[in-house]
Symmetry: C2
Subunit: 209 residues, 2 copies
């Protein structure tokens, strides 16, 4: 009787537990299926429906979890006196996160985006936008640069590399192409070539790839 009362006490954290378990199963490359997900948790298959409304809801929650973790990683990158260096560190952190959780990264982009997904991704993009604005304020970029546009272009570079490496066509060391790519982009935005190169190489080393 007693232990039943304990076990059966409503536990809203079971939602987070299932998400974590799914993320871990993705990391260990085990197929995430309805029954295999709830097996071992004590919960029944219905838990997925009460908490997520079905498997599709679970994937959506997993996508948001992926963006949340990504945003947390990006938030760890400190703002130094060199905003271009910080932008490179942000990009490196983006790639590092994708390399640490390649399957979760794939899930984040495999289904067509919905409103909720876009909101989760917005925080990631906004992080880059703020970095570009800081670089503008520091006089590294031209005044006519649109921070959002430059951030999107940087995102395209980062996602292109991350996607091509995690899916296999490019080897992991191809991530190093990020340095010349970002340098080219930021120089085109007005930064001094030599100074830009040094900043980016410094920022790149901030993150273990």
């Amino acid at each position: 009787m007693y232990y039943w009362a304990v076990v059966r006490t409503k536990d809203p954290s079971i939602r987070a537990l299932l998400i974590d378990r799914a993320a871990q199963m993705l990391r260990t490359r085990r197929p995430v299926t309805l029954r295999s997900l709830v097996a071992g948790t004590g919960a029944s298959t219905m838990a997925v429906y009460t908490y997520f409304g079905g498997m599709e809801g679970l994937w959506k929650a997993l996508r948001q979890e992926g963006f949340t973790r990504l945003a947390a990683e990006l938030a760890k990158v400190p703002a130094t006196a060199d905003p271009v260096r910080d932008l490179a560190a942000l990009s490196a952190a983006y790639l590092s996160n994708a390399m640490d959780n390649p399957d979760l990264y794939r899930v984040m982009f495999d289904a067509t985006f919905e409103l909720e997904d876009s909101k989760a991704a917005d925080e990631t993009l906004h992080c880059l936008v703020r970095g570009v604005e800081r670089a503008k304020s520091a006089g590294r970029f031209r005044d006519d640069i649109d921070p959002l546009e430059l951030a999107v272009q940087g995102w395209a570079i980062g996602h292109g590399l991350a996607s091509l490496v995690t899916t296999g066509p490019l080897p992991r060391q191809a991530l190093a192409h990020g340095v010349p790519l970002l340098t080219a982009l930021f120089v085109s935005a007005g930064d001094d070539p030599g100074r830009c190169r040094r900043s980016i190489e410094q920022g790149w080393e901030q993150v273990r790839l």
Copy 2:
């Protein structure tokens, strides 16, 4: 008796038929399942196993088909007197192909690459490498530029844009970011900024996006 003989005559093109049908089902966003694929073709479910060895083999064949079609589209881009303009036209054709068959494009990159997939993708990449070599020969890029590296960097840009647009986070008009991105990349490779910009804008217009 007679019509049976006609119908049952071994037809090796049934393999291509199934691939085409699967590609069309992807385009019309109908779920490609074993039974729905063979329904209407007169073939039974076993055809998928005799020709592809299972559904996974079908997906692999579809990936190769996707790269083959992509290579055919890229081959249509003519080589003019302006190799930088041709490189932009190649990139635009790459994006155009992805926009025309977004689901096929996603299938091409959703599973981890195997040897056969890499061989199919090689032709695509080699197309860009040749373009870079022509630009070097024309004196547009510096002598120390590695054609393969620059081609890979261009591929990362193209795939990043194509992937972010087909999966939803970026709207279709974001493809226009390809112009400044390629300009930045090729200027960093040594091309004259003004001339590069003009070449790329011209090449970009060669393809309907």
